[in-house]
């Protein structure tokens, strides 16, 4: 933080990334290393984990203790829940979702992946690609994480051998041909010793690529947002009870994609009514161009009946409006999915109910084969299903728009979120 400048801080970009990989591949250690080498660990935090490491008889400071925050996690030496960490360099601020590798916590990986720009997938160079690696890579592709970084870790344990690294890269390339991934990077690292994490390794002269930190600071995230299809879900209607604003009717929400300007001709869904944007504002300040992911308040040139859950779009670019559609889901609950079962469904800020019409197939994550016979969808399973909703939803495919293409299913008896869904 020594080259801190407050002007630079105002211009930083935000990059969200998640970590994945099998248990013990070194995720927590890597995050600890990133924080430690970029000098984001404070003295009181370091003191606390030094003490713990000593108590446990470790010869080095166990950096994974930095992220494993819950009592049960420290007792068992594993990560149970997603932990969020923050660090900044003069270029970017980073939000890390450190997720557990255990199979029973796959739902947490999906959680971390849903908002990530990038995924770091750790592979223990000695073990190569494991079932969890495949599962997590598949989830990353299913959730359309724009950038994947494959960290081939524990290089120190194989004498920093180029062959060992290349073997993992090749193995992974075979796997990724079956996946829908846009941008993959490979790095040989040692999270424990620090090679190629923040500092360039002197142990691997054969490697000419960048360090992990350089990559994180320079990934091109400018095109991760969709600036083409205008989608503005109305979250809240602002009607002040003060006489001076008697006629004010503002539609508050977050622009999920596209660019809006005052004067734009817009269409309101589901009514199909049209109007022109009068103002776009926040706290009285007029905005001339509003784009994702801004939270704004919009006013229109005429009175239209609009309520929460409606969507303001451009007249000539509208989403699909259907009551029956297919979704790829990741099931996240101990109670299995019920065909014919009814669930609450949430899409943008709209709530509806739905019935599960059909299970089209289940995906065998290890072979990535579609199994049309197996209709038992349990915790951590991935399947394509058909749902029918009580009211039409206005959506895009997830591939086209992560925000208008995603849904969650909620069990109406327990109120738990039971599935993450991506509209096909």
């Amino acid at each position: 933080m020594s080259d801190f400048s407050s002007e630079g801080y105002m211009n930083m970009e935000l990059l969200r990334f998640t970590t994945a990989g099998s248990v013990d591949d070194g995720k927590s250690t890597l995050i600890g290393r990133l924080l430690y080498d970029s000098k984001q660990i404070f003295e009181d935090q370091l003191e606390a984990i030094e003490q713990r490491s000593q108590q446990r008889g470790f010869e080095h400071v166990d950096l994974s203790l930095l992220t494993d925050g819950l009592k049960a996690e420290r007792e068992q030496g594993i990560t149970i829940d997603v932990a969020y960490r923050y660090f900044a360099t003069p270029k970017r601020k980073f939000i890390i979702a450190d997720t557990p590798g255990h199979i029973q916590y796959t739902r947490n990986m999906v959680t971390g992946a849903s908002t990530a720009n990038a995924a770091l997938i750790l592979v223990d160079v000695r073990k190569g690609i494991l079932e969890q690696t495949i599962r997590h890579s598949f989830i990353a592709s299913l959730l359309q994480i724009p950038h994947l970084i494959i960290c081939v870790n524990k290089m120190d344990l194989v004498d920093y051998s180029e062959e060992a690294f290349s073997k993992v890269v090749e193995e992974y390339r075979n796997l990724s041909t079956k996946l829908d991934i846009k941008d993959v990077n490979f790095l040989p690292i040692s999270a424990l010793k620090g090679d190629n994490v923040v500092e360039k390794s002197t142990n691997m002269p054969w490697y000419h690529g960048s360090t992990l930190m350089y990559l994180l600071e320079n990934l091109h995230i400018g095109s991760d947002e969709n600036h083409i299809d205008c989608r503005f879900p109305v979250q809240y209607v602002i009607r002040p009870q003060q006489t001076e604003y008697h006629d004010f009717r503002g539609y508050a929400g977050r622009i999920v994609s596209g660019i809006y300007k005052p004067g734009d001709k817009v269409k309101i869904l589901p009514s199909g009514e049209t109007a022109k944007v009068k103002t776009i504002e926040l706290f009285g300040e007029q905005i001339t161009e509003a784009y994702a992911p801004m939270s704004v308040t919009m006013t229109l040139d005429r009175d239209v009946d609009i309520s929460r859950g409606d969507m303001i779009v451009r007249e000539n670019n509208v989403p699909s409006m259907e009551q029956e559609f297919d979704v790829m889901i990741c099931w996240m609950n101990a109670n299995n999915l019920q065909v014919g079962g009814k669930y609450a469904i949430r899409h943008t800020v709209k709530d509806a109910r739905c019935v599960i019409k059909d299970i089209r197939y289940k995906v065998d994550i290890n072979s990535m084969h579609r199994n049309e016979q197996d209709k038992e969808i349990a915790m951590n399973d991935i399947a394509r299903i058909t749902v029918k909703t009580t009211v039409p939803l206005y959506f895009d495919s997830y591939r086209k728009n992560r925000h208008t293409g995603s849904i969650i299913l909620i069990d109406e008896a327990t109120n738990e979120t039971v599935a993450a869904g991506m509209i096909v």
Partner: protein
């Protein structure tokens, strides 16, 4: 800066406003916890932005330990008046008088833990079904695990091992009768983000955040503000020093830092090179390694 790219403070602002609006829309009786500290001041500012030109559509709730800095209370009342918000205050003293809470004894006594009783009672009395708090995930390791919408059972308890997955920005606030939610709009902010945002938006904060002379008690490496609420120990050193506060809480457990920083940009420069976390000045977290997790499980913030 690339065109059509929000810089990170504006992105955090947009996210927080989204969460606050979502809370107002999904719950019947939300409330915003207001402590007089910088995080809750920033959160209140964001709530104003979220609903402007309408007033904030929920009350602010202050759990008053009775051991506040006078400056904080003066600031609170002035701010509430200016923005036309509704303020509810509930007193830890009342909980003690009613026998609902027992005062701790001795030199390290603090009402910090007792706050939970008063808070839970207030939420029940006001039938609050969503209480927004200014806690940040970077503050403490148990808080790093929090969701934006954090479910609490009917006893106000947090079950960190069985939290609802939170996907994309689809926030699930569904609950059974008697249950409620804690909501954390500033989850993704760091201490630095909060200070930079205060500067960017020119938000007023209590004067004790800035450098001033004060009589302090030097104890276990922590500089506590001298007040009648703290029982003195023989080993205590009482001196006048030039200090400011990095966090503001109860007077009995909020430590000061020695600092000449008297403007926002001086504070920001100081934090940029600081080697201890802001909670490093808090006495309440030093009680045990899992002090925060233990308190949170039973209903603390």
């Amino acid at each position: 800066m690339i065109k059509y790219h929000l810089h990170h403070l504006r992105e955090l602002e947009a996210e927080a406003i989204y969460i606050i609006r979502e809370t107002a829309a999904q719950f019947e009786r939300p409330a915003m916890l207001f402590s007089g500290g910088k995080d809750s001041i920033v959160m209140t500012h964001l709530a104003r932005k979220a609903f402007y030109p309408a007033r904030i559509p929920f009350p602010l709730l202050h759990v008053d330990t009775g051991h506040n800095f006078r400056e904080t209370l003066v600031f609170r009342d002035k701010m509430v008046e200016e923005i036309g918000a509704r303020l509810e205050v509930r007193y830890v003293q009342d909980s003690i008088d009613k026998g609902r809470a027992r005062e701790e004894k001795g030199p390290n006594a603090s009402r910090n833990v007792l706050q939970t009783v008063t808070l839970l009672d207030a939420l029940e009395e006001l039938k609050v079904d969503a209480a927004m708090g200014g806690a940040r995930r970077d503050e403490e390791k148990a808080r790093a695990k929090e969701r934006f919408f954090s479910h609490r059972d009917e006893f106000g308890q947090w079950n960190p091992k069985n939290q609802r997955p939170e996907l994309w920005m689809l926030l699930n606030g569904k609950k059974h009768m008697g249950e409620h939610f804690r909501v954390f709009p500033l989850s993704n902010w760091t201490e630095m983000d909060v200070w930079m945002y205060i500067q960017l938006e020119k938000i007023a904060i209590p004067e004790i955040y800035f450098s001033h002379e004060r009589e302090i008690i030097l104890r276990d490496g922590v500089l506590l503000a001298n007040s009648e609420y703290i029982m003195k120990k023989d080993s205590d050193l009482i001196e006048t020093r030039t200090v400011r506060f990095r966090t503001i809480g109860d007077m009995t457990c909020t430590g000061a830092v020695e600092s000449p920083a008297s403007t926002l940009s001086e504070i920001i420069d100081e934090i940029a090179v600081s080697r201890v976390t802001e909670r490093g000045t808090r006495h309440d977290d030093k009680r045990s390694e899992t002090a925060m997790e233990d308190r949170k499980k039973v209903g603390y913030f």
